[in-house]
Subunit: 230 residues, 4 copies
């Protein structure tokens, strides 16, 4: 498994029209440059169809948005972890609020990711669910209050108790699990606040993808992460 | 929308280990050659992550295995039709027995495919469901009795009444819809039988993907299709 | 199977707090009385746990809100049609917009209802989907544009083309299927409009359940239905 | 919330034809008698439609097989916890292997059960998932390896490490959570083995429901539980 330096900024491209096909490659290139300039790890999570297209031409960690907890086989329309890995991804989101899984499948997807060598970033919606996820031994948990996703109201400022509560319970249940936070993160300040609360990074989407100047926002975020490391 | 010559052989790669990544490209290349030699349309339906990889290097119709009935937007882990199209696919399977959709979403996915210019091939499990699908105006319906999928017992011989029943009701409900059949198709004879029953092609998977010599089986199938056309 | 006189007014209790337990029995009693006074068929569709409680004390047609398309067996948390029937229900809703099913399961649930002698009322969201449903041979289809459900804006006035479009296509695909409409129906006028468009009844919920005086609204609706019959 | 004496034997009626309607009442009566004779807590989990019918005539703890994590409202075909409670149930199964929930909904259903005063018994499939469940603060977790369900091969003998592993991790994550086990339990010996491993009871189904003489098997089980308490 690839080992990523922390802190990490993961940009989820979701299904945004600004982030598919050629535009996905363009945004990934920006992320690669900003990461290179600042030394801060920046990963992208594009549509499955765009993973190979990005890994062919850009050198940055690429995550899938979802994998299914199944062995290669008769699973039409499912996402096979081995195929994701071979396409060049280094990790995968699991259980994003827009792609929830049943509990046994979160367990299965984490095991599957580990088996094929993908970093697992499991999303949760509150501290209790974060603790539950931590019990399943993922690499990272990203807590995101669904009501703030896409709002521009940053979890790291508006719901600090969700973030610190998650850090507390995850430390108790499984201290090896890295805690990220997400929802409403759209500026360097938001990232800085997230890291100050004790997280090791952020998961975000529209804050960068739908920004007027994605490069500028991402640079601002990376610089905030850089400062926090000192 | 691309216009494909009929009859058509669609090879569904599912999530088979023999048909992901480089192996997916290899199989697609075989399909391209056989199609070129015989003049029979052969399409492949690989994992989403492999669509672009195949369309970059091979010249044959590529189908997605599934699309979601949504506009580009906040849909992490969903399959955006626009992204599938930009990756070079010409069509998509919808409602495969391993990836069933709620009825309103089949309707939505067919509309979405039409909107972005993807050929829609909707799977069904019996004549009544085929008629229901035909009422939604897809390009093609592929009837596949689930109990025969992957068995090597061909629907075109073992359940001819399912195939002819489908052709009859689809003609009544919506004669513009092309009828394919699938399940257990693994030889040229099976394809010939399917076409003799009145279908315009077949949807198959393991019969080719897991064959000892996929090229040989596919060639045999294409030649059977060629004969049927005379 | 019980044969119900048309037109029919089906009051869906959903999961409303005004319509569970004792309150469900109270509302069912009102419906029974109004039906008895006017001669118009009024059915109720309560929570599963309330079916037996109602059928024990009231004499009116009771529908389940959902059944699963399975044989009795190892199906914890599923709704077994045989159990619904034995509890005294005469029919069941299938595929309500709040409880959508995959297409093959709609087919299965309709077959299951027929097998055990329950009237099947399948919900749809537009004319195309209504035609698809009609191809599956249910007893009734209830077209309900989801965007109007619970709004008080009646489909029978605001979206007449959805209702007449459904009647047209259902007649073509399967003239034996009775067409109802629903969404936003909350007055006698709305019911009258629905019947004038050619439907044989209405499916409604909040219009009665959340009315200040459910008895009065229901009486008004039944009288409108009565008038339409003349 | 009702406080139940431990150990507990929960008989899940699933959707078995031997356990619906009148037969559900009959089995519940047997359970009531055996519990009364032995002093051991025996609960039953019937189809939702049968809950009220049983609680009207029998005096024993009745569980729902599932509840939905929603407030009363527009949720056709969902199971409203408040309605389950008013029907006389004292608790509910959650996340049974035949009715899996997404993780956030398990959290929601546990909260909902607590809010309305229902005992929550959450099913899990292995120790890791049991630990995850325990982090969500249910009243009980019932670990059941899916591959043994319905086989007659008792988890308490064939997979003791799953049971003891669950007890260990649950104690660490949340010692207040009561651990039950299930799958393949069909005799007094199996129950005794389960209690000796440290569980506080069993969840079973076919072992009693499909027994030639349910009363005899249940009595044997209750006596085994009785002995274990000494």
């Amino acid at each position: 498994m690839v080992k990523l330096e922390l802190p990490i900024i993961i940009v989820n491209f979701k299904g945004y029209k600004e982030a598919i096909g050629e535009k996905a490659v363009y945004l990934a290139k920006i992320a690669e440059e900003v990461s290179s300039e600042t030394g801060v790890t920046i990963a992208v999570a594009p549509q499955h169809v765009d993973i190979f297209r990005i890994t062919s031409v850009a050198s940055l960690p690429v995550f899938a948005q979802h994998i299914d907890p199944v062995m290669p086989g008769s699973f039409t329309g499912h996402v096979i972890a081995e195929a994701v890995k071979e396409a060049g991804a280094v990790g995968t989101l699991i259980n994003h609020s827009e792609r929830r899984l049943i509990l046994a499948d979160i367990d299965g997807a984490i095991r599957k990711a580990r088996e094929v060598g993908l970093i697992s970033v499991v999303c949760s919606n509150n501290p209790e669910v974060s603790a539950a996820v931590a019990a399943l031994n993922p690499d990272m948990v990203a807590v995101e209050p669904p009501e703030l996703i896409g709002t521009g109201i940053p979890v790291s400022k508006a719901k600090t108790e969700v973030v610190t509560g998650t850090i507390d319970v995850v430390r108790k249940v499984n201290p090896d699990v890295v805690v990220l936070c997400g929802a409403g993160i759209s500026s360097g300040d938001d990232v800085e606040a997230a890291l100050k609360l004790g997280t090791k990074g952020v998961l975000l989407a529209s804050g960068v993808v739908k920004a007027k100047d994605p490069r500028k926002v991402l640079l601002e975020m990376a610089e905030a992460a850089q400062r926090s490391e000192k």
